[in-house]
C-alpha cells in the first residue's frame, strides 16, 4: 500500500464515523481530492480482493469502514459491541414527519401525529438524530427541527434524496387529495382546517 492509502486507512479506522473525501485529502498536504478518491478505490479493492470482513461504505456524505452484513448474526450473538436502544414507534413517526417536512415546528408535528411531541423531540435531539435548524416567523417564534448527519448514518443513507419520494409510497398524498363525496367533476378544494 502506498503512504496515502495507509494514511486514509488509518483515518477511516480511527474516525469511526463517515469521513468526507475532502477531510481525507486534507490528511496529506500534497494530496488532491482526486488522489483521495483513487486511494479510496484502491483500498476498497484490497478489502474485496483479500476478502476482509470489513468494507468501505459510502454513507451520510462520507466514507466509513463497516463490517460486512454477513457477520451480523455471529456478532450479535457475541455481544462484544455497544448496542443502541431501539427507537419507539412514536420516535420513528416523529422522525418521519421531520425528515419530510423539515424545517418543521413542534405544532405541525403534533397536528400530524395527533399527540403531543415534547418528550419524543427531546429524546431524538439527545440521540443526535434531529436538531434545531432555525425558528419560525410565527407567533412565539417556535423552533424548527431538521434531521442530522447522524440520522443519515443510522439509516444508511447518503443524503436526504435517498428517502422514498412521496409518490413512491403506496399511499401518495402530496398534496392531500380533496375528498369528493359523490360527483368527481367539481373541483372541490381541501376543506379548511377546523
Amino acid at each position: 500500500m502506498n503512504p496515502l492509502n495507509q494514511l486514509i486507512e488509518a483515518a477511516l479506522f480511527s474516525a469511526a464515523r463517515p469521513v468526507t473525501v475532502e477531510e481525507l485529502a486534507a490528511l496529506d498536504p500534497d494530496a488532491s481530492v482526486a488522489d483521495a478518491r483513487s486511494a479510496l478505490d484502491q483500498l476498497r479493492e484490497t478489502y474485496d480482493f483479500n476478502q476482509h470482513a470489513v468494507e468501505i461504505v459510502e454513507l451520510a456524505g462520507g466514507y466509513q469502514i463497516l463490517t460486512r452484513p454477513q457477520f451480523a448474526a455471529a456478532l450479535e450473538r457475541a455481544q462484544l459491541h455497544i448496542r443502541t436502544p431501539k427507537l419507539t414507534a412514536a420516535a420513528l413517526e416523529t422522525m418521519a414527519v421531520i425528515a419530510y417536512r423539515q424545517p418543521v415546528g413542534r405544532a405541525e408535528i403534533e397536528e400530524i401525529r395527533g399527540v403531543s411531541a415534547g418528550g419524543v423531540l427531546r429524546t431524538l435531539q439527545e440521540r443526535g438524530l434531529i436538531e434545531v435548524v432555525g425558528r419560525s416567523e410565527g407567533m412565539g417564534r417556535p423552533m424548527l427541527y431538521g434531521t442530522t448527519m447522524h440520522f443519515l448514518e443510522m439509516l444508511g443513507l447518503t443524503d436526504l434524496t435517498d428517502l422514498p419520494r412521496a409518490d413512491e409510497l403506496t399511499i401518495a398524498l402530496q398534496p392531500p387529495k380533496p375528498l369528493e363525496p359523490e360527483d368527481d367533476d367539481a373541483e372541490a378544494s381541501v376543506p379548511a382546517e377546523s
Partner: protein
C-alpha cells in the same frame, strides 16, 4: 407492527381496576387506523357512527379516556357523528362531507406510518454492519477547548423553556373524565322521573369534560339497554327514558 393489548395484574389490588399496557398504539390516529383495518373499512368512507362507538368503547376499556390526546379525538368523533345525522337539505352539490378533514388526517398519518416503517427497516438493515467499536481515547495533545457561543447558550435556554410545559401539563391533569359519576347522576335522575332531557343530565354549568363524561355514560347505558335515547322529531330535544318505559314512538 402488532398491537397487543395486555392486561397485567392490578396495580392496586381490591380497586377492581386493571392496568393496561398500551405500547401498541402511538396515538389516537393509530388506534383509529387499527379499528378501520381490523374491520377492513375504507378510510375514504368511514362509517362514523360505528367507528365513534368503537373508539369510545376501546379507550374506555383501555382506560385511555384519561389521556388528553385520545379524549380530544373522542370529542371530534362524537361531533362528526352528530353532523352526519343532520339532514342534508336536499341538494347534494353544496354538501361538504364533514368527514373530509378526518379522512385527510388519517391518510396523512397512514403515510407517516409507512415512512416510519421504511425507516425502521433501513435502521435494521444498516445495523447489520458495525462500525469500529473501540473509540481511541483523546490523544495526549493539550485538550482542545470546547467552543460555544452566547447565541448557542441562549438557544439552549429557549429549548429548555420550550420543554417545560409538557411535563407540567401531564402532571396536573387529574382524571378528566368521570363516567362513573355521570352514570350515577343519570340513574338518580331516572329514579325520580321516567323521562329526562339531555340538558337535565348535564347539570348546571357543565364543562367540556362533563359533557363528554355524560355522553359516554349515556352511550354505555344505552348499549347495556338500561336507558332509551330518543329524538321524537328532527331537531326536537333528545329524550332519555328508563328502559322500562315504552319508547315514545
Amino acid at each position: 407492527m402488532t398491537h397487543t393489548i395486555q392486561a397485567t395484574a392490578p396495580a392496586v389490588p381490591g380497586e377492581g381496576g386493571f392496568v393496561v399496557r398500551l405500547d401498541g398504539f402511538s396515538g389516537p390516529l393509530d388506534l383509529l387506523l387499527h379499528l378501520l383495518r381490523e374491520q377492513q373499512l375504507e378510510i375514504a368512507d368511514i362509517p362514523i357512527a360505528a367507528i365513534a362507538d368503537q373508539f369510545l368503547k376501546t379507550i374506555d376499556e383501555l382506560e385511555l379516556n384519561e389521556a388528553a390526546d385520545y379524549l380530544e379525538m373522542a370529542g371530534r368523533l362524537l361531533r362528526l357523528k352528530v353532523q352526519m345525522l343532520l339532514p342534508r337539505h336536499g341538494d347534494e352539490e353544496g354538501w361538504e362531507d364533514p368527514r373530509a378533514e378526518l379522512v385527510r388526517r388519517l391518510l396523512e398519518y397512514q403515510q407517516v406510518k409507512e415512512i416510519s416503517l421504511w425507516m425502521e427497516q433501513g435502521i435494521e438493515h444498516r445495523a447489520a454492519r458495525l462500525g469500529r467499536g473501540y473509540l481511541p481515547p483523546a490523544p495526549e495533545v493539550p485538550e482542545l477547548p470546547l467552543t460555544f457561543e452566547l447565541l448557542e447558550l441562549l438557544q439552549a435556554v429557549e429549548r429548555v423553556i420550550g420543554g417545560i410545559p409538557t411535563p407540567v401539563l401531564h402532571q396536573v391533569v387529574p382524571r378528566p373524565l368521570n363516567v362513573e359519576a355521570a352514570t350515577a347522576r343519570i340513574e338518580a335522575l331516572l329514579r325520580e322521573r321516567p323521562r329526562i332531557s339531555w340538558l337535565d343530565t348535564l347539570g348546571p354549568k357543565p364543562t367540556l369534560t362533563d359533557v363528554l363524561s355524560t355522553l359516554l355514560a349515556l352511550l354505555e347505558m344505552a348499549r347495556r339497554g338500561v336507558v332509551w335515547i330518543v329524538q321524537p322529531a328532527p331537531f326536537a330535544p333528545i329524550v332519555i327514558a328508563r328502559e322500562s318505559t315504552e319508547p315514545i314512538n
